[in-house]
């Protein structure tokens, strides 16, 4: 759906407006750094760009394993387990309590937020099938753990997710049948089961209408030759695409009542730095887009907002 790209664009838009933004990648190899000329991201933050007006954009790649290791170390495991195969212990604990890895990651994000690491933290969350599970992890663990450190962590994560001033989820989709059906399902699941605030719905890859295209097709000869045939085929393709796109965005508006922000289809195979600027510009003019509006740093100077892009 381009959620990594949309997350980066949200970051660019916010940094351009003067915020200190941290992009958090959870799954490796997202190529988040590529448009900025940065390679693979590490666990520590990498600065991607500084903006006029004081804004900056940094990114880091949080892994469950590293976060879990830190968590266990903080719990005092470190001193005792020096003689044990440490990665084995971490893997075992992580796999035996699914959700614990997710909780530890959310805990790490919360820690970054509490420390005021950035004005806005944009999290590139797992893809829709896994996003609900990821954000549900604290609820599940809070249910099974009556007390103790896990319960405490789960409560803190739930508090962050439920706090509309600190956290919101931005859903990303494309104007096609499958992605639209999927995002409707995800949206309801997040609202019902996680209770998190949903930001505007980003519809990525929307073809722009071309003025006069339909009229030109109507006036074109029925059987053109050469370049005319190619133009006509391309025009028909676009018109058909536009019609189905309109159907799908209308269905989306009907079934998932959230404001939509439409991002343009860029006609490039990847999205480079200039492409991110175009998407960021489209996000910045849309009303109620989280990056610019939610973490209003002048109103609440100490507050940090966290945004998960799903």
């Amino acid at each position: 759906m381009g959620k990594t790209t949309v997350g980066a664009s949200v970051g660019v838009a916010a940094a351009r407006s003067g915020l200190d933004v941290l992009l958090v990648e959870l799954e490796g190899d997202s190529h988040l750094g590529r448009p900025f000329g940065a390679g693979q991201l590490g666990y520590a933050a990498t600065e991607l760009e500084r903006f006029d007006g004081g804004g900056r954009l940094r990114a880091r790649h949080l892994t469950a394993r590293e976060a879990m290791r830190q968590y266990l170390d903080a719990g005092g495991i470190n001193r005792i387990t020096e003689r044990l195969p440490r990665t084995g212990l971490v893997d075992l604990v992580t796999s035996a309590a699914p959700g614990l890895a997710d909780l530890v990651l959310l805990g790490k994000i919360r820690q970054l937020e509490q420390r005021g690491e950035a004005d806005l933290i944009v999290v590139d969350a797992p893809a829709s099938g896994h996003a609900v599970g990821f954000l549900m992890a604290p609820r599940g663990l809070a249910r099974t753990a009556a007390s103790g450190p896990v319960r405490h962590q789960a409560d803190l994560a739930l508090e962050l997710l439920a706090d509309q001033a600190r956290c919101q989820v931005t859903l990303v989709t494309m104007p096609e049948e499958g992605p639209v059906s999927e995002v409707i399902e995800t949206g309801f699941a997040l609202e019902d089961e996680v209770g998190v605030r949903l930001g505007p719905l980003v519809v990525n890859g929307c073809l722009a209408a071309v003025d006069g295209l339909a009229e030109a097709v109507a006036q074109a000869p029925a059987r053109p030759r050469g370049a005319g045939a190619a133009s006509l085929a391309a025009a028909r393709f676009r018109l058909e695409r536009l019609a189905s796109q309109a159907d799908q965005t209308a269905r989306l508006a009907r079934e998932l009542p959230l404001p939509q922000v439409r991002l343009p289809f860029l006609f490039t195979p990847g999205v480079d730095r200039a492409g991110l600027d175009r998407l960021a510009a489209a996000l910045a003019v849309a009303p109620a887009v989280p990056s610019a509006a939610a973490p209003s740093p002048t109103a609440t100077p100490a507050a940090t907002a966290t945004e998960a892009v799903v």
Partner: protein, 363 residues
């Protein structure tokens, strides 16, 4: 001869649909083919009659002379069967009853991949089928699935469990007390019940490692045999192309039989079709304005994508590339698969079996 065809690629490139369509193409060639899907979208599951709970292969009817079967992978069901096969009486039931077991099957890296190759092997040896087409689970690294049998062996043979719970030799005795202490601290963090379940689970897994190792060797034999062919699926995006290049390179380095690249959902190429249908370019002046501007946008996209995909073939050598063009609107249900099968047909599929094994043609 029985064949297997494995589709690999990043998540979201349309692997499941491409695998299903290539199975349709084989059925149109007269083969008795089964496609094993991992996580089909609802519409595809309905088309393949896979919305039920079981993992048995079901016959999908359609306008083809061969037979198309479809099965959905249920890792937990497959794992239960594997445990029953390798375990002592009662051992599988104890493991299956452990609350931690199901959690582990979902969360441990490599388990669903292993179950996919386990099912691939089962279907491959099933005399009902000439060809098995496998859609692979969305791993962070698709290649993980090749190593999954070994990974599962390592899991069952977990060193931590040996250190903590099986201090049979003097050398390990001291490590074991440190291990028990570690478990107590872990229990403080995650709860005693969870630790108990893990400990019991590993105690119950005891003795399974040899069976798993033998099976892993057998499955490894199929995966590396020339009868198992691999295809890369990608879209024309830098991330998916980079992943396909990496997977392809890893497969080729292991000496595995990579036979094609499927470039899925590439931009439609209007200029090529125009060149094919025309002699002299007559309508040029008529198509200026909005139509020309629109064509220019799609042409630029097609050029950019072609460059990106050229880099992939350069990296992987002379592999046939099948370009499946993006449609203005996707056909639905079985028609969509048949349409896609037509586009996938140009790459030679594994040879259909001896004609004598075919059911009488339906038309």
């Amino acid at each position: 001869m029985d064949e297997a065809l494995v589709y690999l690629g990043s998540g979201g490139v349309g692997k499941t649909t491409v695998a299903a369509a290539s199975a349709v193409a084989a059925a149109r060639d007269g083969a008795r083919v089964v496609v094993l899907t991992i996580d089909p979208a609802r519409r595809l599951a309905e088309t393949l009659d896979l919305d039920g709970p079981g993992d048995e292969a079901r016959l999908v009817t359609g306008p083809w002379p061969g037979e198309l079967w479809a099965a959905q992978l249920h890792p937990t069901a497959t794992l239960a069967e594997v445990l029953r096969r390798h375990g002592r009486p009662g051992q599988a039931e104890r493991i299956l009853a452990n609350p931690t077991f199901q959690a582990i099957t979902h969360a441990t890296p490599g388990i669903s991949e292993y179950m996919a190759v386990e099912r691939l092997h089962q279907l491959h040896t099933d005399p009902r089928f000439d060809l098995v087409v496998l859609d692979t689970p969305p791993s962070r690294h698709a290649i993980e699935f090749l190593d999954s049998p070994q990974r599962l062996c390592r899991f069952v043979d977990n060193r931590l469990y040996r250190t903590v719970l099986a201090p049979r030799s003097g050398v390990l005795r001291s490590a074991s007390s440190a291990g028990r202490l570690a478990l107590r601290v872990v229990a403080r963090l995650v709860g005693m019940e969870l630790v108990d379940n893990v400990v019991r689970l590993f105690a119950d897994l005891d003795g399974l490692d040899q069976g798993f190792r033998d099976r892993a060797a057998e499955i490894g034999g199929l995966l590396t045999s020339p009868r198992c062919r691999y295809r890369l699926v990608t879209t024309a995006r830098p991330e998916t192309v980079a992943e396909a290049a990496w997977i392809g390179r890893s497969l080729i380095d292991r000496g595995l039989a990579v036979d094609a690249i499927v470039a899925n959902r590439v931009a439609p190429s209007f200029t090529a079709s125009a060149a094919a249908t025309t002699g002299s370019g007559g309508g040029r002046s008529r198509s200026s304005g909005p139509m020309a501007a629109n064509l220019a946008e799609f042409s630029a996209l097609a050029v950019g994508e072609a460059e990106l995909l050229a880099g992939l073939t350069e990296a992987l050598g002379e592999l046939p590339v099948l370009r499946v063009q993006e449609r203005a609107q996707m056909a639905r249900g079985r028609d969509a698969l048949v349409e896609l099968a037509g586009e996938l047909a140009p790459v030679t599929l594994p040879r259909p079996p001896a004609r004598t094994r075919l059911p009488p043609p339906t038309r």
